[in-house]
Symmetry: C2
Subunit: 342 residues, 2 copies
């Protein structure tokens, strides 16, 4: 069997199987199964040979839909970025629902947007024997996960891409969504449009900024750099940025808010502003319909569901090259995005 | 040393210490430390005696602020009820922040409001060697955690009380908060007030209903049972319940919504209703300030922080009887709660 001669340093998605172990050890499949499950009926010598084959191939028993060892439930880990960001609530719940249909538990943790903590948490979950991992990256280098992936821990990245490794990735089209949202404001007559985004090391922030610039460029509109602000999404800095854009020498007549945290603060500031200012926000927000806030909505649940389904296909043995799946966000006009320039 | 003679079946909060192990084994503290940390310099016989003492006392090394074993980070588990409920976002983040200051990781999971899943998850986290556990209960019987607590896993319940065991519990005063909210509506002239709550097996739902009845009773007002609805908090059933209360033979002029999920749907239904109806909701909601929604706000972050601090005090060796800590919610008048009867 050709499989049994593969090096233990395999590429992603070609995890060794029990069949590989049996071939390498020169025993039957049932014998491997007995060793893996700790059942009797195997001589010490055979057990040693099987164990050597397991070690050299990097085999790891990993059938997600069943209880893996006596009393142990299959589990997958999810590394979030911020536990308090409502965007991750439906995403997490969707992952959990898929895990549940596969008889697996979901264990979460948060990096709190700290790359070191992301690594610490992801490795802690691996050490606690999760069968697969879904990561919303805080950092940009994920080579630390290579040994885990080689050891058979299926890994899918969601919301932001992985860095330095090839892996399944599920994203929203941040560039296209922002471009559409800004084009919507331009179509309603705006020429001076502000962009408020998250910190510049965050992939979605720079992609959305790129979408903003593309839409302005598409319409032949110049961008005054005073209209662009990337930074922390806490209320204080966002409030200051909005105020500066509304009161500068070339005040904006419309704002594009780069995520839900920014939109919430922008809505508050605009509610106090004497003149109407148009607003489109990336991400939907609870009660935004009642407040008439126009948004480019990501489907957070679909992101989570897609990532989890991809993960379980890997765990169920699918052998295909890593894919990048991009979901298209939806522009929802509700009022604020259709306000004409003052 | 009297401690060394305690039975292994100890009560909560009196975990055996290394000193207990040393006394029981008749060795010095340093020897116990060597055995626990796998350091050299201990004879096989001594190691065996120490191990026996550890086993008989149920000792478990459990110093939260340090790395416990080589390469293993201290961790605590949090069993949530619903990953998508925004109430748990700030609660989880507050727990995480306290864990972080103690050098520990937080691992979450959700029961999805299913008592069996709560048990499965809590025990899975214990099996994955969390040092402590914070539980938002879905079930009403937590005796399954007794062996874990005896084995040294500190456990704190939050948001809802534990059932069948004595344990630290951190709650909001649901009864008092609802009573104050309903009294506020009565003070604004309402006599026919509806109560919309979560399913009746949920502790906070029945406590808030009790607060509603107490406020009505305080004011000498009768309660028509057509004004009371407990059930699932999905939009469909809540919408039906609100509509029934507004169109029945004795229509209500005000509503008290028992939690944030219910309030969101009630706000939507009332926005379509021709006549103004007063509303007070339990739990604050993002953007409720801009929509002028009067709420009885729980401090979700304070609940999480208080529970986590309690947990780490236990992990740091505090030996005190289990306590029930009740935080007082705050009435925030913003408009909907001050609408007079039609």
């Amino acid at each position: 069997m050709a499989d049994s001669t593969r090096p233990s340093d395999r590429r992603y998605g070609t995890r060794p199987t029990m069949k590989d172990v049996a071939a390498r050890a020169g025993v039957g499949l049932k014998t491997v199964s007995r060793v893996v499950n700790g059942e009797p009926g195997v001589t010490a010598d055979t057990e040693r040979r099987v164990q050597e084959a397991i070690d050299s191939l990097g085999f790891r028993r990993n059938d997600s839909a069943r209880v893996l060892r006596k009393g142990r439930t299959a589990s997958i880990g999810l590394v979030l970025e911020d536990l308090a960001d409502p965007f991750y609530g439906p995403l997490s719940r969707a992952v959990e629902e898929v895990a549940r249909t596969h008889g697996a538990l979901l264990i979460n943790g948060s990096s709190a947007e700290d790359p070191d903590r992301e690594q610490e948490l992801a490795l802690a979950l691996c050490a606690r024997r999760v069968d697969g991992l879904i990561v919303i990256p805080a950092g940009s280098d994920h080579r630390y996960l290579e040994p885990e992936i080689r050891a058979g821990i299926a890994t899918v990245f969601v919301d932001r891409p992985a860095g330095g490794i090839r892996a399944d990735t599920v994203l929203s089209d941040s560039f296209g969504g922002a471009r559409e949202g800004v084009a919507h404001l331009i179509a309603h007559g705006h020429r001076r449009i502000g962009f408020l985004g998250d910190r510049p090391h965050i992939h979605t922030a720079t992609e959305r900024l790129r979408g903003y610039r593309a839409a302005m460029d598409d319409a032949g509109l110049p961008v005054d750099e005073a209209w662009v602000s990337l930074g922390p999404t806490d209320p204080g800095p966002v409030r200051a940025a909005v105020t500066a854009m509304l009161t500068g020498p070339a005040p904006v007549t419309a704002l594009f808010a780069g995520n839900n945290r920014v939109t919430v603060t922008a809505v508050r500031v605009l509610a106090e502003h004497p003149a109407p200012v148009a607003l489109v926000g990336f991400d939907d927000i609870e009660l935004a319909d009642l407040l008439g806030i126009t948004v480019v909505a990501q489907d957070a649940a679909a992101l989570g569901r897609t990532a989890a389904e991809r993960l379980f296909r890997r765990l169920d043995g699918a052998e295909e090259p890593p894919a990048r799946i991009e979901l298209t966000p939806t522009l929802i006009p509700r009022g604020t995005g259709e306000i004409p320039p003052a």
